[in-house]
Amino acid sequence: MQAATEKAARIPVDSCAEIRVTDSEAPVPKGALNGAGVSSFVENLYIEHHDLIFRTAFRITGSAMDAEDVLHTVFLRLLRKAPDLEFLAPPRADGRPQVTRAYLHRAAVNAALDVLRKRHRTTDLESLQSVLEDTQPGQENRQHSLELSDWLRSALGRLSPKAAEIFVLRFVEGYSNAEISRMLGASRSVVAVILFRIRGRLKKEIELFLGGTS
């Protein structure tokens, strides 16, 4: 019974169309850059969007090195998918490749969140945990050493991938609920509910983090 409820609760999130480029074992196809069409296509994408991807990744990860990795990852995954690039819609009549831009933006967000998650796994969990959970007074010193944005990054790393993505798209990257629901193929109410829940959870966590210093 409980399992059924859980499942029902999860359905909306899971039903969001999986647009993220999934990791496949396939190597970069030979000639992915040399083949006519694909080459110039990817190159144009790179020229046009590397800036957006890097900036997004930098915002989310807070590190130039990680942002560079994200840029690399996004295009590497794109090249892996090179034979199937049809899924990237061609530019519209006015010449602005709207869908492609949104797609890459999302890919950048996801790759950057991957970095946060990995960072979360690899950081000394014990110390972080003590920072986050220790509600004893005398917190201030530690609190100062950990910036609020750093805290948010680690918190995002602990969220479920889908939730973190929606949160970042909404609050960091500034998409509207409607845009997000279109991007993810989920209904607006689902997006709104998820955002509400995340905010609630993050508020609780930040409360613990601040440890009643008010």
């Binding site: 970069v28 890097f54 900036r55 840029l71 990852t73 295009f75 910036e147």
Partner: protein, 931 residues
């Protein structure tokens, strides 16, 4: 209040994050670096795992700048040996383990490498993994929910059984019964089954698959139906089961000493979970515990199989299945036995005898032969084999010495159950072989002559003679003895006098020219001063005598055949069969001379035809079998008098086979070859057709002009020279075949194929049939897949052009998998098992190879057969699995050298003694033969 504070803090955090801005200079720098890396990755065609910056990025933190870069699965696979031997640097090791965790192919390679080098437990793991994978493959093929057609199972079983053991088939159809009885119990013996525990008494029967266990401080002796005895130590547990050709003792835990009675045809098996012991009549002990099992041999020969590894143990030898189980003296291992003293003496006596026996055995290679010169001038067939009677005699002598020295051994030797044939008969037989063998030299030669008329002469059998006078006398005595004891007189005549032979020859000549009347029914044995020769023809013997007197004058010495044989001797000869094909063929043409004189043009056409197909150039065929440094070698050489031509010339000289890269190590059947020039082959066929059947040629020309095609330039010209056909993947419900052909001009070939389909449909339409064939193209990204299907048949073929090859398979999934094998390097050519089968010689490539390994095939079929399902019960399914375990892979290679074809095979060519045993057990099924 607190809530508001938290909300503000969260807003602040988000705001901080949003405000974080990268510097424009940093962005452009990073963009340049990333683009360079991307270009590199694409050029290398690398698997992105190791350039994925998710892990420590090499470009920023070049931890190991000096070491080579890992670019793909094959690089990781190259690290396997270093990883296994623990020589990998810690950073590399981390990378390697990380990759192994995500890459199935590399994991398999690692498991395979481990299985080859590591302990038997690893074999088991690899085998189970393989089984699981084949199960998954089958499930993927949609088999799980479907009922498998019985005929398909039957076909696979018959295929497998036909190649190895008929007895298994028998066992599947009529499972063997197992009877055993408790002879003695010292303490308590339980029969346990689930919730019930019952104590077993002396005289009780033990049924098939009943589990019995000895209590603490107890022991028991069990006797099986065939007379074998199992002595159980305390706290030991076992059950008995039927095997394909005998009984299996399943040792669940504890120690046993098995005194296996001589098995008439089959084997007695002992399975300890991590190894399988098979014997035909020996004394050995097995100890199975938590860490593994240990097998010790007291008497006889024991074969232990662990996965694909087989080891032969002799008295005093020991084998353990896990490295943590160390060797202990065999004496300690059997110290608990109640008959330990007898066992011990036997052990010492036999292990000493065995060591000497090993020194005796094995006939040496022969590097020269006097007998070769004695062969007639027109010898067309020559066979030589070693005189092994001496080795046999010596071995027996050594054995007798040991028997005389040891009382225990003597008792054992004289016990009545030891021999299926009478002991005295055996002794007499060995003595007689030894006596006659001792008169003879190292070699026995058979020669068949074909005279100038094209008639075969009676075969001649030669051997050197060491003690001529005694030999003749012994032969006479033997004949007399046989005549007296059995009342038969052998049609043998021993001639020692040269004049007697000449008289006989004259008589024969008088009594009807070439037909030798009376002499024909009699085998003449001429025992000369230093050689003996046997033939029904006195004239042949006389001539051999002349050659012996003056070997320099022998016409045979001047022939090519002789020099070829002499060169074979210079490499060492054990068993040899040779045929002079040139003379055989020459005789063939001259035998038709009468016909030819009437129809001269026909004769010319015939000779032309033979020359065209390359048969006329054949010179000699030599087949050899010898054991070099413990490895048995089989080799056949077909030589030509000039460079190979015609059909014989089609096979290219040994060349690398890229086609093997498309086949996985699990493939059960592979046939691969490299042709010289497909165009040249078509040319040859055309000229052959032109000459032999002008009308057919005319038809072909007409066909070509009618359909606007040129077979030579459209079909043959785009092809490279490599071809491969293989079965690879699930075999049911439809076999996963694959065809790989090297193609130099894919566009042209594709055009030709399209044309062929259109034409076929056009012709069909002209005859009133609907268009049946269809060739469709589907693009998946940059890959173009083609599908050839037929409207009235469910069968279809998919193909694509990849890396210069045309790859065809029955489904697109299989095509993708095939390409993945090539990309990941998970291929048969790199499989350790395949490589271990390659023949040892100077060649690095081969021109053609045939490989079959039915083990995974039978394994996957067996795993499909759940008890009760598909009409097979658990016994039968088990038998099939046993069968799979007993099969061995076979590899035969052919080399097309300039003027000869060489065929070499590693391993035993699918023939072993147990397969004959299988036939024997089938024979016993016949009415009246049963037991």
């Amino acid at each position: 209040m607190r809530d508001k504070h938290a909300r503000n803090a969260l807003e602040n955090a988000i705001e901080q994050m949003r405000r974080q801005q990268a510097e424009p200079g940093a962005i452009e720098g990073a963009a340049g670096r990333v683009w360079a890396k991307l270009t590199d990755a694409v050029e290398a065609g690398a698997s992105p795992d190791q350039v994925d910056p998710g892990r420590p990025a090499p470009a920023y933190a070049p931890a190991e700048p000096a070491t080579e870069v890992l670019r793909g699965c094959s690089d990781f696979q190259n690290l396997v040996p270093a990883y296994l031997s623990g020589q990998l640097a810690s950073s590399r090791r981390l990378l390697f383990e990380d990759h192994i965790a995500v890459c199935v192919h590399c994991r398999k390679q690692l498991a395979a490498a481990r299985a080859l080098t590591g302990p038997g437990a690893m074999d088991e793991i690899a085998r189970r993994k393989q089984q699981r994978i084949s199960q998954q493959n089958n499930r993927r093929a949609g088999l799980s929910g479907r009922r498998i057609p019985k005929w398909a199972i039957a076909a696979v079983i018959v295929l497998g059984v036909g190649l190895t053991q008929l007895s298994t088939l028998r066992n599947i159809i009529w499972p063997r019964e197992v009877h055993a009885m408790v002879r003695t119990v010292d303490g308590t013996l339980f029969q346990i089954a689930g919730q019930t525990t019952r104590s077993v008494r002396v005289g009780d029967n033990i049924a098939k698959r009943e589990t019995i266990r000895t209590a603490k401080d107890s022991g028991a002796l069990i006797q099986i139906q065939d007379g074998s005895q199992i002595e159980m130590r305390e706290r030991s547990e076992l059950s008995l089961d039927s095997a394909s050709d005998g009984t299996t003792i399943r040792l669940h835990r504890g120690s046993v000493i098995v005194h296996a009675a001589p098995q008439r045809t089959g084997h007695l098996y002992l399975s300890s979970g991590d190894c399988m012991v098979s014997v035909t009549g020996t004394l050995f002990s097995v100890n199975r515990g938590t860490k593994g099992s240990r097998v010790s041999v007291i008497e006889g020969e024991v074969q232990v199989s662990q996965g694909s590894k087989r080891t032969l143990l002799h008295p005093g030898d020991q084998l353990s299945t896990h490295p943590s189980v160390e060797r202990v003296p065999v004496e300690h291992e059997i110290a608990w036995s109640r008959q330990v003293d007898a066992h011990l003496v036997l052990l010492h006596a036999l292990s000493a005898a065995g060591k000497e026996w090993n020194r005796v055995e094995g006939s040496a290679l022969r590097y020269r032969s006097k007998l070769l010169d004695l062969c007639p001038e027109d010898t067309v067939v020559y066979a030589a084999f070693p005189n092994f009677s001496e080795a046999l005699g010596k071995a027996y002598e050594v054995f007798q010495q040991h028997i005389n020295q040891s009382e225990v051994l003597r008792e054992w030797w004289q016990s009545p159950s030891r021999h299926s044939i009478g002991k005295s008969e055996l002794e007499e037989m060995i003595t007689r072989i030894r006596v006659f063998g001792s008169f003879l030299g190292d070699e026995i030669v058979l020669a068949i002559e074909r005279d100038s008329q094209g008639e075969f002469q009676a075969p001649l059998l030669f051997a050197e003679l060491r003690r001529p006078a005694e030999f003749a006398a012994a032969l006479q005595t033997e004949m007399g003895r046989l005549a007296a004891s059995r009342g038969v007189s052998l049609p043998l005549r021993v001639v020692t006098d040269r004049r007697e032979l000449e008289t006989l020859s004259k008589h024969a000549a008088l009594s009807g020219g070439r037909r030798e009347g009376r002499a024909r029914d009699e085998l003449l044995i001429f025992a000369g001063q230093d050689f003996v020769v046997t033939s029904p023809s006195s004239e042949s013997l006389r001539k051999a005598l002349v050659r012996h007197d003056n070997p320099q004058a022998s016409g045979f010495r001047k022939s090519d055949f002789h020099s070829r044989l002499a060169s074979a001797y210079s490499d060492g000869v054990a068993w040899l069969f040779a045929a002079d094909l040139r003379s055989l063929l020459k005789e063939h043409t001259s035998a038709d001379a009468r016909l030819a004189s009437r129809e001269p043009h026909r004769k010319d056409a015939d000779t032309d035809f033979l020359r065209q197909i390359g048969v006329a150039d054949m010179q000699q065929l030599i087949i050899e079998q010898k054991t070099v440094s413990g490895r048995s070698e089989n080799r056949a050489v077909l030589s030509f008098n000039q460079s190979r031509q015609g059909i014989a010339g089609w096979l290219a000289e040994p060349a690398p086979m890229g086609t093997l890269d498309f086949v996985s190590p699990d493939s059960p059947l592979i046939a691969s070859f490299v042709l010289k020039q497909p165009v040249a082959i078509v040319d040859e066929i055309i000229s052959l057709v032109q000459k032999s059947d002008p009308k057919a040629w005319h038809d072909i020309l007409e066909f070509q002009s009618q359909h606007g095609v040129d077979i030579r330039s459209d079909f043959a010209a785009p092809l490279g020279g490599e071809f491969l056909f293989a079965l690879d993947g699930p075999i049911l419900p439809s076999p996963s075949w694959k065809l790989v052909v090297e193609v130099y001009d894919p566009a042209k070939l594709q055009k030709t194929l399209e044309w062929a389909v259109t034409e076929a449909n056009r012709v069909a339409a002209a005859e009133g049939h609907p268009a049946g064939l269809s060739l469709t193209r589907e693009d998946l990204g940059s890959r173009a897949f083609y599908k050839l299907s037929c409207s009235d048949s469910p069968l279809e073929a998919h193909y694509l052009f990849w890396d210069g090859y045309l790859v065809a398979a029955p489904s697109r999934a299989l095509l993708l998998q095939t390409i993945q094998y090539r990309e990941s390097g998970y291929t048969i050519a790199r499989s350790p098992q395949f490589r271990s089968l390659l023949p040892v010689d100077g060649q690095i490539n081969c021109s053609a190879l045939l490989y079959h390994n039915l083990v995974p095939l039978a394994g996957s079929v067996a795993s499909l057969l759940s008890p009760g399902g598909a009409g097979l019960n658990s016994d039968q399914a088990k038998s099939l699995r046993d069968l799979a375990a007993q099969m061995k892979p076979v590899l035969i290679c052919a080399y097309g050298e300039k003027d000869r074809l060489v065929v070499a095979g590693g391993g035993d060519l699918g023939l072993n003694l147990s397969s004959f045993a299988g036939i024997e057990s089938l024979r016993r099924l016949l009415p009246g033969q049963n037991r």
